[in-house]
Amino acid sequence: MQPASSVGIVVPQTAHFTTPLTLKSGAVLPCYDLVYETYGTLNADKSNAILVCHALSGNHHVAGVYAEHDKKPGWWDNMVGPGKPIDTERFFVIGLNNLGGCHGSTGPASIDPASGQPFGSRFPLVTVEDWVESQTRLADSLGIRQFAAVMGGSLGGMQALHWSIQHPERVRHCLVIASAPKLTAQNIAFNDVARQAILTDPDFHGGDFYAHNTRPRRGLRLARMLGHITYLSDDVMGSKFGRVLRSGAFNYGYDVEFEIESYLRYQGDKFAESFDANTYLLMTKALDYFDPTHHHASGKLSDALKPAQADFLVLSFTSDWRFAPERSREIVKALLDNECRVSYAEITSGHGHDAFLMPDTHYHSLVRAYMERVAS
């Protein structure tokens, strides 16, 4: 039995689109699939829909489970469900797997209808802007003209922000959580180290490893280990693992000795088995490219955010050094410059960037209180 606060057993759906999508890069996807899940009920005037955008390694499975005894619920199951901060008794919540993903939506591992082979290296780079465009088409197909809210954490927050700029009339509320207006050089650097780990793996085969019946496990594992370190804080690593040794003594070798090594390798291995290397490359590039000021002569974020009409909730976490509170404050400042309705909270947490996925009481109370406003 799933607890009463779970949306229960959910089934992903697939939307097929045949209108060609011209991407920012200039490449064209003649047709594509988007896999999505929905929770709750769309009301008669279709005004209670909430779009949840996912982060780097996320997908459409936001809440609920796939089977009765499924131990792993959706990635934001603590946030979305009946009576939860995003209350599915009131809202119709949509999660989708972004284009280029590896959980059902058309991506590098999908079969290219033109060749009958996986896209692999031929799958074009997609950007946050392209994702938002594909999401508008999904909204259209569901008859949703305006979202009650578009929300997301990290890369998902960037998508929510872009929604508010690109389609201001389609977003009533925008929740940008643990995000940034654009990556810093340090962040791009981390992403490139992760990409180099994958690109230089001998099993990568220029992105066409599918044809060789292999996958660049070592590279993907390193990329994930690096990412994982940056998503945690020094404090949480210290309290969780410290310098604890598995055998209780130094072995003076390169095998796993410290608990943190064991943990990271385990996480890396797990990820390397389940995630597509090309998708990881593509998603990190989408992160790097995102910059709402890119096409503005002034280069000012406040100019880029001028079109926004939504009400905003911006949240950051104190120990998040990859998407630090200062970056959220840049978004807040730009919204204030435009006299947008915005609230901002800096949540005290030791969990680093990953805090946005954790069930912190104050954090959830804030989202719950804000959603009261969205519902009214």
Binding site: L313, R329, V332, K333, L336, D337, E339, R341, V342, S343, Y344, A345, E346, I347, T348, H362, S365, L366, A369, Y370, E372, R373
Partner: protein, 194 residues
């Protein structure tokens, strides 16, 4: 219960003004100004509990430490900047007053008047004052810079501020005779010297 200074402040806020409420607490003043004066604006708060209360109250609330300044707000972007019963808890008193008139055209400040006769009496008796407007024991108070009306007015002169209006009250009733002695709560409206 609505605080005594709310109505005085609301009378000074022109309908439709853009206001910034510093140390806005749970946002009840800003909500009152939205409801009665159709004011638009933001509250600034530091504590988590007040941020949550402000979101529940339906106001725009920004978590920020006033002691670190108001750099998130552009110069001249507000009609009124309000510091209601917070001045006495500020460490950087001069800095926040200057910031108020940087981001706003007019400042509104309210504070408990340390010159109120009951406060003076308690000091004369040898104790730090505890009253409705200063409801803290000396060892457990957020207040670090208590002042009298005379003191505040002298600071305004030093900073080059022009006091446009002042209302003094005790238990909600306006006081006109010997305000620095008879008034427990002072409410000031000030701008730059023209």
């Amino acid at each position: 219960m609505m605080r005594h200074d709310f109505h005085t402040i609301a009378n000074w806020v022109k309908p439709g003004s853009k206001v910034l409420d510093l140390g806005c607490g749970d946002g009840s003043l800003l909500k009152f100004l939205q409801d009665t004066r159709q004011a638009r604006g933001y509250g600034v708060e530091l504590t988590d509990a007040n941020i949550l209360a402000g979101v529940k109250n339906g106001i725009n609330i920004i978590q920020n430490d006033l002691e670190s300044g108001l750099s998130v707000f552009e110069s001249g972007s507000f009609d009124h900047v309000i510091l209601s019963q917070t001045l006495q808890a500020m460490r950087h008193t001069e800095a926040i007053l200057r910031e108020m008139l940087r981001v706003g055209r007019e400042g509104i400040v309210t504070f408990p008047n340390f010159g109120y006769w009951k406060n003076r009496l308690q000091v004369l008796r040898g104790n730090m004052p505890v009253s409705d407007d200063i409801p803290y024991q000396w060892y457990d108070t957020p207040n670090v810079h208590l002042c009298t009306m005379h003191d505040f007015e002298a600071l305004c002169i030093k900073l080059g501020f022009h006091i446009r209006e002042r209302v003094v009250m005790t238990a909600g009733t306006p006081v006109r005779f010997l305000p620095n002695l008879a008034g427990s709560l002072a409410v000031y409206r000030f701008g730059r010297v023209q």
